[in-house]
Assembly symmetry: C2
Homo-oligomer: 158 residues x 2
DNA sequence: GGCAACTTAGTTGTGCACAACTGAATTGTG
DNA sequence: CACAATTCAGTTGTGCACAACTAAGTTGCC
C-alpha cells in the first residue's frame, strides 16, 4: 500500500506548499492587523525582540530572528525613519551598532499588546492547539537547519 | 493559571514566528536540493502544477498556487528564458496566456522525482507525521484566509 | 608593535510577494 | 448595436530574504 512514486510530486502532498501557503496567509492577517501600528510583519518581529530584550546590537537581533545584516540593515533604517528606533555605533566596539528604542518605540508596545489575541482569534485554534503546532514547527525548523548545514558541508567537499 | 498579558508578546510564544522560521528553513533546504535543477522553490512549485495539470492559463496557475499575476508574470518570464515553458496568447480568448511545457520542461520532471524523498529525509519526520502536520497547516490557512477576508470586508465599510 | 585572521554592518544584485494600477479583450444589458 | 462592467496579464513600486562582497574595527600571535 505504498504511494506510487509518480504521486510524490502531487502539489497537495507537499508539506512545503502547505507551510508556504500558511506562512503567506499569516502574513496577510498581520498586514491587516499591523496596519494601524504602521508596521510590517518583519518589523513587528524586530520590535517584539526589542521590547522583550531591551536595546541590542544588530548582531544579537539577527541571532534572535535568524536574519542577517543584509535583511536587517534596510529594515532598521525604515524603523529609524519612522522614529521607533535609533542606531548608534557602540563606543566600546566601533564595529557594532546598538539598536535602541525611542520613547515612541517603547510606547508602541501598549498598542501591540492586543495583536496576539487578535491573531489567535483569526486562527480559530485554541491555546493548546497552537502550542502543539508551534512545538512541531520548531522541531521541523531544527531538523531542516541541520540538514541544510549538512548539505552545505557536502558541497564544500566537492 | 492563565498567561499574563505581558507574556503574550514573547517571541517564543508567537506561532507566526515558528511558522515564518520553518518556512524559511524549508526554503533553505530547497535552495540546496533544487540548485541542480536550476530552479528556485517558487519556480519548482509552478513546474509541479504544470507537470500535474498540463498546460494552463496564467489565471488557473495562480489559483492553484494562490499567487497573482504580479508574482507569476516575471517568474514565468524567467522560466521561459530558461527554456522550460512557452507563453502563448490563447486564440479563443486573447486576454488569456497559455503556459505550456517545452520538451525540456517536461523532461525535467524525471530529475525532480527524487526531490520529495530528499526533502522528506531532511525533515526527519515520517510519512504520517508529515501528513498530520500538513492537515493542520491547511486548516490554519483556511481559517486565516477567511479571517483576512472578513477584516478586509470590515475595512470596506469604514 | 605589527600583521594576519576574524568580526560586524552595510551594500549590491537577484528573486519572491503583494498592492495598486494600466490596457486590452470579453461579457452582459439595454 | 453600444457601452458599461468585468476579466486577464502585465507593470510599477515597496518591502523582505539571502548570497556575495566590501570596509572598518578588533583580537590573537609572534
Amino acid at each position: 500500500m505504498t504511494t506510487p512514486t509518480s504521486d510524490w510530486l502531487r502539489l497537495d502532498q507537499q508539506i512545503c506548499f502547505s507551510l508556504h501557503a500558511a506562512s503567506r496567509a499569516f502574513n496577510g492577517v498581520y498586514r491587516v492587523i499591523l496596519k494601524d501600528l504602521g508596521l510590517t510583519y518583519p518589523q513587528y518581529l524586530v520590535m517584539l525582540v526589542l521590547w522583550e530584550q531591551g536595546d541590542l546590537p544588530v548582531k544579537k537581533l539577527g541571532e534572535h530572528l535568524r536574519l542577517d545584516s543584509g535583511t536587517l540593515s534596510p529594515l532598521l533604517k525604515r524603523l529609524e525613519a519612522a522614529g521607533l528606533v535609533r542606531r548608534e555605533r557602540s563606543a566600546r566596539d566601533e564595529r557594532s551598532v546598538e539598536v535602541r528604542l525611542t520613547e515612541e518605540g517603547t510606547a508602541l508596545r501598549e498598542s501591540a499588546l492586543q495583536v496576539p489575541r487578535r491573531v489567535a482569534a483569526a486562527t480559530g485554534f485554541d491555546v493548546d492547539e497552537i502550542r502543539a503546532l508551534r512545538t512541531r514547527l520548531d522541531e521541523l525548523t531544527t531538523a531542516l537547519d541541520a540538514a541544510a548545514v549538512d548539505a552545505a558541508a557536502l558541497e564544500e567537499k566537492a
